[in-house]
């Protein structure tokens, strides 16, 4: 399957605006206008996770490919950092009050809620996360 866009960025928070711009532009071009907020949210949560945890020893890169599969917008995000499966994290307890709440785990929770599916694979020395956003209401 031919990607509709490919991007390689430094795995730093400062890369986020350019990344969001590029990916949401692709999504708009392919008719996902109604899903831009969901796409931005899952993109940010997955990317920030790489920035914060993938390269504890220093700086690395993230590779982001967008494609279409079965009518869904697929974001494939890869990094060369330590093996880490974000999909293995449990959902947060969303019922606690202010003093008991933390925001740990909310990122993957939003990813699960906003995608049709999310898949993690360890391929050679890469973490590869695939996020699939469909057009139907969730």
């Amino acid at each position: 399957m031919k990607p509709i866009s490919e991007l390689k960025v430094a795995a730093r928070i400062e890369s986020l605006p350019a990344l969001v711009q590029s990916v949401t532009e692709s999504a708009r071009d392919y008719g996902f206008d109604s899903k831009l907020s969901a796409i931005e949210l899952v993109l940010e949560e997955a990317f920030v996770n790489i920035c914060n945890y993938s390269y504890p020893e220093g700086e690395g890169v993230a590779e982001i490919k967008c494609s279409l599969r079965d009518g869904r917008f697929i974001i494939e995000m890869a990094d060369y950092g330590v093996p880490f499966d974000i999909t293995s994290l449990p959902d947060p307890d969303t019922s606690k009050d202010i003093s008991g709440r933390s925001v740990g785990g909310l990122g993957i929770f939003f990813i699960r809620k906003m995608t049709d599916y999310v898949r993690y694979e360890r391929k050679a020395n890469k973490n590869v996360l695939s996020l699939a956003v469909g057009l139907s209401e969730r």
Partner: protein, 111 residues
């Protein structure tokens, strides 16, 4: 993200526009620390101009609330819409905070 503030009696009304994401949320934290350091303890945060919030933005919202709670301050929200409202609802934040459709209603609650 654009932040503006004005005083209504004892209440600081803070309007946030644009995006509260991993890049911009630290700016909100900084402003909020400045306001509490200056003695402000009653806030109405108007999010009617906010188009987007992520878990990084929620982290700032929660940190602000915890800081205020420690000093018995108050923090009410108004005007959440679209994706911002959806993210508040999904995360359970909609039920742990006092949220009003209109800024005027939040101000009335502060009286």
């Amino acid at each position: 993200m654009e932040i503006s503030e004005r005083k209504e009696g004892n209440v600081l009304v803070v309007s946030v526009k644009g995006k509260m994401d991993a890049v911009t949320a630290p700016e909100f934290d900084k402003q909020f620390e400045g306001w509490t350091a200056a003695g402000e303890s009653a806030f109405v945060v108007n999010f009617s101009g906010l188009e987007y919030i992520s878990s990084a933005g929620l982290r700032s919202v929660l940190a602000s609330a915890k800081q205020l709670k420690a000093g018995s301050g108050r923090l009410l929200f108004a005007g959440l819409r679209g994706p911002v409202r959806e993210v508040f609802e999904l995360s359970g934040f909609y039920s742990i905070f006092q949220i009003f459709d209109l800024e005027a209603d939040a101000l009335k609650k502060m009286e």
